[in-house]
């Protein structure tokens, strides 16, 4: 029962974020896409509420949090009226069958815990457990020397989402945390299908991510929500033509990605560079990046003010050029995903044979930049072999996702893109 309640908390996120359906472009998406976008908005709202209570030193309680959330949910649904519920883009039967098969395999893997990430048990989960027990994010916990190994300077979005789930269930549910991976993964798939209007691209996204998540043992870690928010940002700037919706959705995706993992900040920088190079729209790029810069800047100022342990200054460490060859070879091994690199080869081939390969430029550049950033950070250790093998399959999920979206863009006509 506890696990069911805890999982229900994630299912409530789209209801909390329904207000984002006020955007006409979101309203025009199919149901899956609208639910996924509302889920992202709901996650941001929940995290903002929990963080705001801690900032003003109001202790969390179940009654208080639920009262606030119910009011927000009611207001959100009211503002989003009339709620569009009609499916605008019926899915191809073969694609639907493929997605169901992938979902069954993924959920089986998640439920028998074989896809679980150690980091869930090492710090994502324990941090949420402590925050919930403490009734908020407390400096006493973050600054405790005993918690330095739990990455106190990491951004807080995921532990706060887990706190939300724990608030509903009154107890932390490890299985619901692991199972939320499926929601984030298929949320990403729904975003791609809904914005690209391409069922085959959705199947490729689902197959690639489900397989890569399994090889990377990513369940319950920061990567599933990170990839979800990154997907939202990439599809918004790639497929959504309406400027206002594009800015709002991309800004939402970037801000949430930046507050999910350190790699989210790297991703935000890559998106900014890609937009400036490919689109040459300075003002819109700044609008998209501003919320991420603000929330991450505020968090880093807090971390620095209280001298918490963090890893954001890794780029300032010495570079070991002697390690370049070994880093490249080890990174290539990790990037092969135990399948001869097929997850990369398929989208690359699809781009090469596509009718409009130039349409892939923006997400392709994001893929190249984030892959390059991973390599850049790895050469800051004299022997990064263990680090690469332990983390690269998860870190490379970002460029892999961007590449798959690039392959979908290459098969759309220019009129279908943003």
């Amino acid at each position: 029962m506890n696990d069911v309640l805890a999982f229900t908390a994630y299912l409530l996120l789209p209801l909390i974020g329904t207000v984002i359906w006020r955007l006409d472009s979101v309203r025009r998406l199919d149901l899956g896409g609208r639910i996924a976008v509302a889920g992202a908005a709901g996650a941001a709202i929940i995290v903002a509420v929990l963080a705001a209570l801690s900032i003003v030193s109001i202790e969390w309680s179940r009654g208080l949090i639920l009262s606030i959330v119910v009011v927000i949910m009611a207001e959100s649904i009211y503002l989003a009226r009339p709620l569009p519920t009609r499916e605008r883009h019926p899915i191809d039967r073969i694609a639907m069958t493929a997605l169901i098969v992938i979902a069954i395999l993924l959920i089986y893997g998640l439920l028998d815990a074989r896809l679980s990430c150690g980091d869930l048990h090492f710090f994502w989960g324990p941090k949420a457990v402590r925050f919930y027990r403490d009734g908020g994010v407390t400096l006493g916990f973050l600054a405790d020397p005993n918690t330095v190994r739990m990455n106190p300077g990491y951004p807080l979005l995921l532990p706060l989402l887990y706190v939300w789930s724990e608030t509903i269930a009154r107890q932390f549910s490890w299985f619901s945390a692991v199972l939320s991976t499926a929601l984030f993964l298929f949320g990403s798939v729904a975003l791609v299908r809904s914005t690209s209007r391409d069922d085959r691209a959705a199947v490729l996204m689902a197959a690639t991510l489900a397989y890569a998540f399994a090889i990377a043992d990513a369940a319950g870690a920061g990567e599933p929500p990170l990839i979800f928010f990154e997907t939202l940002a990439i599809v918004a700037i790639t497929f959504i033509p309406d400027r206002r919706a594009q800015v709002v959705l991309a800004a939402l995706g970037l801000a949430c990605a930046a507050m999910t993992k350190i790699e989210g900040a790297t991703f935000a920088i890559a998106v900014v560079i890609a937009l400036l190079v490919v689109r040459r729209t300075f003002k819109r790029t700044m609008l998209i990046a501003a919320p991420a810069a603000l929330v991450l800047g505020a968090w880093l100022a807090f971390v620095r003010l209280h001298n918490l342990s963090e890893y954001y200054r890794g780029a300032g460490m010495p570079i070991y050029f002697a390690a370049v060859t070994k880093t490249l070879l080890t990174l290539a091994k990790a990037a092969s995903y135990e399948l001869y690199g097929l997850p990369w080869i398929v989208p690359i081939v699809l781009i090469a044979i596509a009718p409009n390969p130039r349409n892939a430029a923006l997400p392709l550049l994001i893929a190249i930049l984030t892959f390059g950033a991973a390599f850049f950070f790895y050469i800051h250790l004299p022997d990064p072999t263990w680090w690469i093998l332990a983390s690269a399959p998860r870190v490379l999920l970002t460029p892999l996702t961007a590449l798959v979206i690039a392959s979908a863009a290459a098969w759309r006509s220019a009129d279908d893109l943003s």
Partner: protein
């Protein structure tokens, strides 16, 4: 099987046995003195009503209880408190 798996089971059981509020750490004794930190981090998530700390068994403010997976712990500061299928719980000798 990874020792983390044993630690998940042991710390869940220990959460009901060790007095609430006590300081606890978690180790695999054979790894002394370079204990795998992930074991006590794992226990930290399973024992929310306890204060789970790093494994400084010989420090002056040593933890009151030690969860040990796999091998038995041999340390003059600790004595066996409870034996479970997944491992052993030791308490500090006053």
């Amino acid at each position: 099987m990874y020792p983390s798996r044993d630690m998940i089971l042991l710390s869940r059981a220990a959460a009901e046995i060790v007095p609430r509020g006590a300081t606890v750490t978690a180790i695999r004794p054979a790894e002394a003195p370079d204990y795998d930190i992930t074991l006590y981090l794992t226990a930290g998530g399973m024992m929310p009503r306890h204060r789970v700390v790093p494994p400084a068994l010989d420090a002056a403010d040593r933890p009151q209880f030690v969860l040990a997976v796999r091998e038995p712990l041999s340390n003059p500061h600790y004595r066996l408190f409870r034996e479970l299928p997944e491992g052993r719980i030791y308490e500090a000798i006053p």
